[in-house]
């Protein structure tokens, strides 16, 4: 059975491994497995999604709030970021904007349970940013298909 304790941020993420992968491959297109950064303040969602991605052909790391997610993204240049929208301190749209500024090739996908996201998305659009949005609950297969480009 899945054990969420095994998937804390420190355990699930290995900067060294990913850094090495970058050095070896040189560009994203040559990576064996795409790297996905999963961000959600609901730990169970972040952990389960990360585990699903790992089992389905992706490298995956997770963060439980925006600021550490941004640090992780800066250091590891993920191919995809799957982030919740409504989060304390830094919301998903703010995170997505910051990531796009430093990593224009990273695809950011927002996931939301729909509470109060209208204003958050409008603020993002006013700054010239728009992002793909999936409404929670989203079936993992739907997300996997999107990430695999199927």
């Amino acid at each position: 059975m899945f054990n969420s304790q095994q998937l804390t941020l420190a355990d699930s993420f290995s900067p060294h491994r990913i850094h090495t992968r970058h050095k070896q491959n040189g560009s994203k297109s040559k990576r064996r497995k795409p790297l996905v950064l999963v961000v959600d303040d609901e730990r169970l969602i972040a952990d389960t999604m990360t585990e699903i991605l790992r089992r389905c052909g992706f490298h995956a790391v997770c963060a439980y709030e925006g600021k550490s997610a941004l640090e992780l993204a800066r250091h590891n240049a993920p191919d995809f970021v799957l982030t919740d929208v409504v989060m304390p301190v830094m919301n998903g749209v703010e995170l997505a904007i910051e990531i796009r500024k430093v990593l224009p090739d990273t695809e950011v996908i927002l996931l939301s349970g729909q509470a109060g996201i209208s204003d958050i998305l409008s603020n993002g659009r006013e700054k010239g940013y728009s992002f793909e949005l999936f409404a929670k609950p989203v079936h993992p297969e739907k997300l996997l298909k999107r990430l695999k480009g199927e």
Binding site: M1, F2, E42, L44, I45, T48, M49, E51, I52, R55, C56, V86, L111, G113, Q114, A115, G116, I117, S118, L121, S122, R125, L133, A135, K136, P137, V138, H139, P140, E141
Partner: protein
Amino acid sequence: MTCKIRTELLQDGLLGLERHLLPAVSRLYGQDALIVTDADANVVYWSRSATRIFGYSAEEMVGNPLSRTIPVELQAKEEKMVNSLVPGALKRYETQRVCRDGRRIAVRASICALGGLADEPAGVLRSEREIPAGPDASVTASHLAAIVESSNDAIVSSDLDGIVTSWNKAAQRLFGYAPEEMIGRSILSIVPEDLHSEEREILRKIRAGKRIDHYETRRIGKDGTVVEVALTISPIRDRFGNVVGSSKIGRDISERKEMERRLIESEKIAATARMAANIAHEINNPLDSVMNLIYLARLNLTASSKARPCLLAAEGELERVSHLARQALGYYRDPGAAVEIHLGTLLEEVLSVYRSKLLAANIAVDCAFDQRRPIKASEDELMQVFSALVVNAIDAMPAGGVLTIETRELAEQGVEILVSDRGTGISTENLPKIFEPFFTTKGHLGTGIGLWVAHQLVEKRGGRIAIDSRTEPTCSGTTVSVFLPFQR
């Protein structure tokens, strides 16, 4: 003085009084008409000044009723005034009299009861002085009358019994009654029945000399419409300070009240939307976790595992709960940017979502789309509007039928969309409530949100939505018409 009069009365009756005392008093108060009436209000003494003021001689008046000098409409009031007199006490008031030549004059009257045998009032001693209606007074009066007539506020006066004594033009505009229809009539005729006790309370306060400021209430116009008014009511006093009536200044506040109601309604809706959004968030997050957990559990199983169908069924049920949560709570969503839309394409997309449901319910779809010019709107919002209409049409025809959807351009103004079903129809008593939040005719199967949200979204886009329904068995059905203008 009272003792002396009583002694005279005992000795000689009123004639003795007339002989000895009154001429002397009359000389002392030369400018006042001095009049004595008996218990039946017949004149027993009429001074020279009374003749000078009223034109009637003593011969004409003595033995005759005083009422010939009192205007008809004031006679009951005068009688009431006399009957309430306590022997020995003095009462002062202003009133009107009719002279021999028909002129009406204003008088300041002082009356005093004359004691009789066994303390029965034997009569009334009156002193009446004419109030000169000089040129200044008339100028002031006409000036004030012009102000009252040109006022935008309804200004109405009534006596202490609530009988209307004046009614300005603004009152006519506001309530629909002309002055001649209202003067002499009770003010209660414009007061709704459930507020009659309120009017009595107002009169009680006015009698006590109190003023009522900015009192918000309802009144009924001539055509039966309810008018919401703010009233300022003040007592009208005569020169001696007696309250003789009331003045009411009324302002129409119907528009403001309607705006207040709309504001409260939209605040309620916004609060409900916020609450729904929060509930949606609280429900959707655990659903997302459970969906991931079931998927993970499935990944751990072999293809032949007996748990596999159970997990697949659980996933299916979870999808169902997600759909319900989205339908019931998902109306608070980001509208997205406005884009150019051809409604035919959008409606076909809506129909494709519900294709399996339409097939299952044995409903045929008949579409006729005629729109060349696109409209600019949020695709997501219009999807929500037409999804609600299509779902309602499907639910209205559980035994099958035909769903008709038509679009047509209306003379450069916009596009009209008609969604019709041949279901059982909506009863007349339910029709007015159909766009109210949480009203449903589907029992526990409905949320009462679909049409309410559709209404909100269409109006927000500057359009209109209307519903027409028939319940006659041979031609029952419902048509919802939506109009969306090209220009917002």
